[in-house]
Structure formats: structure tokens, C-alpha cells
Symmetry: C2
Subunit: 325 residues, 2 copies
DNA sequence: CTCCTCAAGGAAAACGGTTTCCTTGACGCT
DNA sequence: AGCGTCAAGGAAACCGTTTTCCTTGAGGAG
């Protein structure tokens, strides 16, 4: 097969009977051309199925309309909503996303970064979990970076993080409004940054693991400790689900006897619980969108600095407020 | 600030005192050069922090070392492991992934495809869920496409799909080996392709939804129908969890009285169940790796055709075989 | 009838690499 | 001494666009 070589702008120009420069102008609406010429060129392009070579274009324009997204820990449940938000915000500007998974390996991260730089991405979004901050990456001059979810250790960098403390406070306020006074917080490992931040607003905290079985265990501990609690605010939805299961099976009515709340608003867990869980939604998609918007701003020459906090909100379900049904 | 222009190969050549062509050869190990010259050039590159411009390079070599990944339905739980597998297989070949989320919208899909073509990607991986097959995408000549998870409607295209029927059969065999004879299958909506395929090996099926609450409902139905069942094979892990919860609460011992199995091996659900669920693992990461490998083959000039089936395997936990503990 | 202006479009220089082809010496052989 | 061979590296073409600058001819003003 002669492999029908992919059409270039030269082919288009030849077919339309103009010079390549003219064809380029016609396709991009630059310069001053007769309307008839423009349509002639456009038709020729259409006919040949011409699609401009992005590499050639970006060589000239020094813009790639590409951003890199590096997830430092493995890409997982939290990255997805953010990714969707990022895609959403960037897609509108016809910008594509190069996804890199560094898997918590600095070597891999360095490698990915180098690839991104060689591709001359217009910007980089760095995301990840675990610790409270992370060492900034060195993208060199002229390549803006926005950190999402996990802030850069350099406060001058631009970061967007969820308002975890605010979310926890919203839980506390909600429970207080419901008249709950004896509130216990059950959360993940004490060395985990999110656990500590979320716990900071609660007077009484049990640290453990991020799992349902720890939730069940914690409930047992609480029951053994005595019946003097009327609300359990949990560090994530899995713990909350474990707590509700164990309390329910011990005869406690939720929310009548004890109100329970989760964190993350992970629908699969929160909605399947009995009763469904009131939970904090960190709006990760919105956070991703915000990060992408800030990156676009920076690319356009208006870099933002500092750590921005993205609001979380409470989603109220039956585990704190029984529906009249 | 004078913005220290990013170094080009010309700068490197000048610093090393050679011609640009020579610099290129030194950096890529082409042509015949003295060892001393090569190190001199490499040092110059190092010193300037030179990173070759990928756009310029691909213009010449007609390779972009980029593949596009289009998820037709929104990128979700199933895409992630595949994405990781793909990244894994491609990363070894220093190939980057452009991620596109078409959100089940043909217009969006067409748009993304056009972007990918303009970027002259070396190949495309298409993934998605829902139906059994999907209309092939038109990537034009010379751009290989591999369909992952969801096969192309054109049997001549290259697709990789999980062996759902095989997984279901493995469940059936496992239960049979354990001596279970009265097996009921509880699964998702009948119009869902995966539900029907997985159900195909079972004699007795209840269709419903992919949720825990349907699982609980189904268990109630079974209990009402009579006690003549000794195993419930479920269409996914959520249903299985609902079933185990309801059966346990009704006093049935699992696995002693009734064995229960899930499907998908979604750790968060399967391991948190009481008891933990025996489940079918479709090895999505492996599937993604296979798809990527096939794509690499195709890019190298050895395209594979037809629909390939990727084996699933059973992960056995306490919901069918109680541990001696 | 000149001269100027201006719209329309062509020619060519970038952009930053890779690759082909050519030149130059040095060397070995007769 | 003359010739061919070969290693080393330079010069320039090329990849496919965009953009700048230049040319041309037509129309309007004086």
C-alpha cells in the first residue's frame, strides 16, 4: 500500500491554488484575505481531511496547549474527581492533559518532570496525598506550577487545598445545632496529616486506621467506656460505616440515640450505610477546576501565589437527621 | 527580568565548539565521533540544563512518543486500574499518555479524537463500559487503535476484554467443589451487558441493580422463597455485601449455611464485608498492560487483530471458605 | 495623469531539532 | 610518491507550521 501520506498545509495550499502562508492565514483567520479565498482554502482543507500538525505549530508559537499532571502518590480515588475537574476546566480552553503517575518515587517523579519539560508543557499541576506539604518541584523558569490537594512546602508557591478543618468545624456545628453535647471523634492514624487536621476541632479523639474494621472496633471501645456519648464524628466514611454497623448491632438507634458522621462523602460508602451517612464533601472536582483555572491565569501571565483554601460542605443524610419517612 | 531563554541545541553546540549536527549526534549516540567530543558536548548540555524540544524532534522523526487514551463513559473506578496498567507498560517505553474523557458524548469524543490526531499521537487506546461493544472510532490510516475493556463492534479491530464468563464459571466451579448445589445468582440490571454475560453460566438469576440495597432486598426475597439455597453468587461486590449483611442478620451463617461470592474484587468492599468476600478479580491493570503492549506492537508495525480475552481469577476469602482461625 | 494608500496575497525566514551528504586529514598499502 | 579507505565532523536540507515583510495592482485624491 502506498500509505496515503497525511495531508499537510502545502497540499491544502496547492489544491486551493494559493501560497502556504495564505492558506495558513485563511485557516486561522489572520491577515486580510478575500472571503472567497478563505472559503476556497477551507473547502480544500475539508476535502483533504487536513488537521494541522500540533508539533509544527507549537514550534512556531511557543505554546503547546498541554499541561502535565503529576500525581505523586499513586493515582487513586482522590485523584479522579480532581482529574475530572481539571479536565473540565482545561478542556474548555482546548488544552490537553498529560498524566504522570510518580508512585511516590522521587526518581520516577524527576523522570516524569523531565519528559514534561521536554514537551514544553504550558504548565504543571502537582497532586498527591499523605503529608501536609511536599517539597516544591523544580520546573525551571517560565513553567507555572499549581499544587492541588497537597500544598507546596514553599508558601510562595501556588497551592489549592481542601478546607479540612472547615469541614470538621461544619460537622461540629451541625451536631451542636442538633443538641449533641458528648461528641467523640474517631479517625485514622495519628501520624496522618489529614487525621490530625480534622481532629483539631474535636475535644475527644480516638486514633486508629482508615478502615471499617477500626470503626467497629472503636464503637466497641466507646460502648465499653460507657454510654455517655450522643454523637460520633468520624474521620472518613469507612470508619463511620463501621461505627454505625457496630452501634446498630449493639442496639443503639441512629440517629436517635447516637448521631454519626463521615468525611469524604464517598457515595458508595455513605449512601449504602444504614442509615446513609451525613458526610463532608471536599468538592474535589471543584478544587481541580480551581487549580486548573489558577494555572490558566498563571500561563496567561497573572500568576497567583500562596495557599488557597477550597471550601468543603456538609451533605446531610439520615445518620444525623432522620427523614420524616 | 530578561527571562534566561531556554537552551537550544545551538547553545550547546556553541559552548562545546562544534556544529549543531555534531551536537545532535553526540547527544543521541549517532554517527561516528571521538569519545572526547561526545563527553564535551554532553557536559555542555548538562551545564546549560539542555532538554531537547520534543516538538522539534517529532517533526523530524515522525514519532511523538505519545498515545491518547479515550474513556467513552466518564473516567471512573474501572478506568483507574487500567490506566495504571497502561501507564506502566508505556512508561517503560518512555511514552506519555494523553487522557481524554468523552463522558458518553459523541461530539466530545469526536473533538478529543481530532485533538489527538492533530497531535499526531502514535496510537490510541479506547476504553469504556456499559454495552457489549461500541462503534469503532475513525482514527484514519496509520494510527493504530486498541479497545480495552469494551470491544469494538468491528471484529477485525484489536480489542482486549476481561473474561467475565470465565470468571463466573470459576465461581460456579469453586462453589461446586465446595459441594454447593442450590446456587442462586443475584446481579444488576438485565439490560446491562456484563450482568447478562456473568449470569449466563448460572441456572437461576435475579436481576436488579448494582447496589447493596438491592443485595439486601434480594436476600429477603430468597429467604421468603424458602431455605433451599446454599450459595449466592453475586454480580458484583456491592450486591454481595448487601446479601451477606441481610443473611447474617437473618441468622444464616456464612459460609457455613450459605456461601456468598462477589465480582470485581473491589478491595474496599470485599475486604470490609463480614466475612470478607470471595470475589472475581478481572485483573484490570493486567488488561491495561496487555492493551498497551498490543498497541506498542501495532506501532512497531505488527498490528494484532480480533478480540483478545484477558483471564480473570478468583480470590478466595472467608465468605466461601472459613479460615481455621 | 500622477501619486498615495491600501487590500490581497506571495516569498521567505523563522522555530529547534535530525539526517544526509560532503569535506578534510590521517593512515596504510603498493 | 601516489592512491584508496576511513574516521571525524561540518554544511545544509528538511520536517510543517506561522509570521513578517515585500510586491502588486486597483482605487481615490489632487
Amino acid at each position: 500500500m502506498p500509505r496515503p501520506r497525511i495531508a499537510t498545509i502545502r497540499d491544502v495550499a496547492a489544491l486551493a491554488g494559493v501560497a502556504v502562508g495564505t492558506a495558513s492565514k485563511a485557516l486561522n483567520g489572520q491577515g486580510s484575505l478575500r472571503a472567497e479565498t478563505i472559503t476556497r482554502v477551507r473547502q480544500a482543507a475539508e476535502q483533504l481531511g487536513f488537521v494541522a500538525n500540533a508539533a509544527a505549530r507549537s514550534l512556531q508559537t511557543r505554546r503547546t496547549y498541554t499541561v502535565g499532571m503529576i500525581t505523586t502518590d499513586t493515582i487513586g480515588r482522590f485523584s479522579i474527581p480532581m482529574l475530572i475537574g481539571v479536565e473540565d476546566a482545561l478542556g474548555a480552553g482546548r488544552i490537553s492533559v498529560l498524566l504522570c503517575d510518580a508512585r511516590d518515587d522521587p526518581i520516577r517523579e524527576r523522570h516524569h518532570l523531565e519528559v514534561l519539560l521536554s514537551r514544553r508543557v504550558d504548565g504543571v499541576i502537582v497532586t498527591g496525598r499523605r503529608a501536609g506539604t511536599r517539597p516544591p518541584i523544580d520546573a525551571g523558569p517560565g513553567v507555572p506550577v499549581v499544587y492541588a490537594f497537597l500544598a507546596s512546602a514553599d508558601p510562595a508557591d501556588c497551592s489549592v487545598v481542601p478546607d479540612e478543618a472547615g469541614g470538621a468545624q461544619a460537622v461540629l456545628d451541625h451536631l451542636a445545632t442538633l443538641g449533641r453535647r458528648r461528641i467523640v471523634h474517631v479517625t485514622g492514624p495519628a501520624h496522618h496529616h489529614s487525621a490530625r487536621v480534622r481532629a483539631s476541632v474535636f475535644p475527644d479523639t480516638l486514633y486508629g486506621a482508615w478502615s471499617e474494621s477500626w470503626g467497629r472496633q472503636a464503637a466497641a471501645i466507646l460502648l465499653a467506656r460507657g454510654p455517655d456519648f450522643d454523637a460520633v464524628a468520624c474521620g472518613n466514611d469507612q470508619i463511620a460505616r463501621g461505627v454505625t454497623d457496630a452501634l446498630r448491632e449493639a442496639g443503639r438507634r441512629i440517629p436517635h440515640d447516637v448521631a454519626v458522621t463521615g468525611f469524604d462523602n464517598w457515595d458508595v460508602i455513605a449512601e449504602a450505610s444504614r442509615p446513609p451517612l451525613t458526610s463532608v464533601d471536599m468538592d474535589l472536582a471543584g478544587l481541580g477546576r480551581t487549580a486548573a483555572d489558577l494555572l490558566l491565569q498563571a500561563i496567561a501571565g497573572n500568576p497567583a501565589t500562596g495557599t488557597h483554601t477550597h471550601p468543603a460542605h456538609l451533605v446531610i443524610r439520615d445518620s444525623t437527621v432522620a427523614t420524616s419517612a
